[in-house]
Subunit: 409 residues, 2 copies
């Protein structure tokens, strides 16, 4: 059950000039589901990406890094679900490269111009024959207005396809932004999400595009967590097709740069939050705001301690205002010189704790009222400084256990 | 369901000369359950303790630290369940002290000679009147052979009382060791467990006793985790009644010191492992051994990343050899220069992965066979050095969610 994801309706995924997508059912793991996607990029575009910090990063992530480092223009992406091609050693690298070569031959490109992405079960061999057999159908399906179908084709345990868009004017020129993402479990991105693709027809210099990819990921995908498990395959790609007819943007120190970044961030945050709203078994969407820290890093430490606590997450699932569990998580977050007498805690507008103890006017029924909501803001005031950070997460339900106990069967 | 805890039968909790325990039903939170324990110590004994590192430590933990620091001999302990007296601010400290004063008056002691312990719900006021009203009945019940009843009286969500004992000869003198512990959720001790009390009639110098308390906790309670939540109330107390008639032990550099430490450690590890075996919702007992690290600290980092991963824990619950999840956890454990090509993974005697990929001879049915067992050893070889560490944990089941979604109701 995704939390408030289908209604209100997600924003429109606009076609992006110069970017076409095609999908097919290749039967990578199971028959009868869209599981193979090609994303084709016209010459003249720029591509930037950030990838998982997991040291066990998957073979396709290794190849993406190498191909981007070699500096060839990226002309296509190849995305499969059903198999992560992670924990597969040298053989996994060979299979990922072979899939790039197969697509490159059909497109008359070099393998270095292709980026591969995989998501699914870890430590099983990528079924290369099925992927190669599916390429023609995926290519025949390629269209600029295919973003929603591609969002469906990259789903694994997701229950809702995640596609968002936005349009804005730069110097009077209409610019479009569209993104898709997937991911519902093994979500604690660290430099990227499971898979996220964000494209715009805006004209952006390659150097700025890479800077933007990092900054967008940091403020969106790197601020969500479902279960604290950083995936082996996290990849976030930013594509600028450079088709819109406005002056090239080379810095964020301009009105156009600022407007474009704000638009991209809005879509990136929608995509990232959609992953949490559709988190495995999620019934509630939780925003954790930590204020009054000495540094942003310590605010994040506290926010993630709360977000990852199974006890806090099950209390949200139960709508039980067992809020001492939040204080306990604040206490073990790792701030050595934290003074509990300075801590205040709010649940939405309800002050629960002050000076490290129960707030004198706090009533259980007020906490209960907020806990029953499907969206809840936890606000912790550390009383140590002026830094603040926000993290988005979800609750831990029976369905999370069911989904992950049954995932491979 | 506790994993292999009742059978084979736990070792005998021997009476310890000079230590008496009494319990009663004080109705702290619910009627009809033993929830108040007094532990009375004859003059001449030594007491040492280690406490939670949670910065939101509970009022009784604060008082324990202060009373021990003041250097008065500890003559009694007062333990209640049903209320943790944590997240209760100044009022909580006053109530904890009042409970010590009430017991001190009945025993003609000073409040500083009493140590208070509480466990249960956080952020609710300690019901002082009920605790004071229960003291006479608890004191009337005090006997040296009451360890098992005390183990029952300190239970919260535990399903099995945890009491173990051991006897050994020091210079021909029979020495007894007995310990009790409780704790099933909010378990990732950091310097101690939820509540653990270990007593011996051996004669140990106070300085050595404090050193032993730290070393025992480090190798037992600090190596178990259920859900990664470090409690506000963790306390591990070591009592030497000094009643046995052997020469005082002042150092571990002696045959007697070594023998006594080995005996204490055996009981402490049984108590600590019992907490995991009775972990909330646990159906499996998992031993995680990480070898070949550069440092013990990095071995622990990897072991805890595996032990805390909800995806790994749900796979164990499902008996599903979805073992790539273990590799993913190794990868995000935080070792910056980890080379995945050096990693080997075993499940009991089955080699699952070698050189970072699936082992050539690994068969799913072999992994499946081990995953069905109620006790499983995960062995990760990092191939970086000679350090090793072991951590004990359990799986994550539907019952964990049920227990923690319903705990207060």
């Amino acid at each position: 059950m995704a939390v408030n994801l289908s209604a209100p309706k997600p924003s429109q995924p606009y076609p992006i000039a110069g970017v076409r997508l095609g999908v097919t059912e290749a039967g990578v793991r199971k028959a009868g589901r869209k599981d193979l996607t090609v994303l084709l990029i016209e010459p003249g575009a720029s591509v930037a990406g950030v990838f998982t910090q997991n040291r066990f990063c998957a073979a396709p992530v290794q190849l993406c890094r190498e191909h981007l480092a070699q500096g060839a223009a990226v002309r296509a992406m190849l995305i499969n679900t059903g198999n992560a091609n992670a924990g597969t050693g040298e053989d996994g690298r060979r299979r990922a490269l072979r899939s790039c070569i197969a697509l490159a031959e059909k497109l008359k490109l070099s393998a270095q111009e292709i980026l591969p992405f995989s998501t699914g079960v870890i430590m099983e061999p990528l079924p290369l024959d099925r992927i190669e057999a599916g390429l023609d159908a995926a290519l025949a399906d390629a269209r600029e207005d295919n973003w929603l179908r591609a969002a469906e084709a990259i789903m694994t345990t997701d229950t809702v396809a995640k596609a968002f868009g936005k349009q804005l004017l730069l110097d009077g020129t209409l610019v479009s932004i569209t993104g898709i993402s997937k991911g519902a479990g093994m979500i604690r991105p660290n430099m990227a999400t499971m898979l996220g693709f964000l494209a715009t027809d805006a004209c952006i210099s390659p150097a700025l595009l890479q800077q933007l990819a990092r900054e967008l990921a940091e403020a969106s995908f790197n601020r969500v967590t479902v279960d604290g498990d950083t995936s082996t395959n996290d990849s976030f790609m930013l594509i600028a097709s450079n088709k819109a007819r406005h002056a090239l943007i080379e810095t964020l120190d301009s009105a156009n740069g600022q407007a474009l970044k704000a638009g991209l961030l809005e879509v990136a945050q929608q995509l990232a939050q959609a992953i949490v709203r559709d988190g495995e078994g999620a019934t509630k969407f939780i925003r954790i705001e930590v204020e009054g820290g000495k540094t942003e890093a310590e605010c994040r430490q506290v926010a993630y301690a709360i977000a990852h606590s199974p006890l806090v997450k099950t209390a949200f699932f139960a709508s039980d205002p067992n809020l001492g569990r939040i204080l306990a998580a604040v206490g073990y977050a790792g701030i050595e010189d934290l003074d509990q007498r300075c801590i205040d805690l709010y649940l939405d507008d309800v002050q629960v704790a002050s000076c490290g103890g129960r707030h004198p006017s706090y009533l259980e029924e007020d906490g209960q009222r907020v806990m029953r909501q499907s969206e809840i803001t936890v606000r912790v005031l550390l009383g140590r400084g002026a830094a603040m950070q926000t993290v988005w997460t979800c609750d831990l339900s029976h369905d999370y256990v069911s989904i992950n106990a049954d995932y491979r069967s």
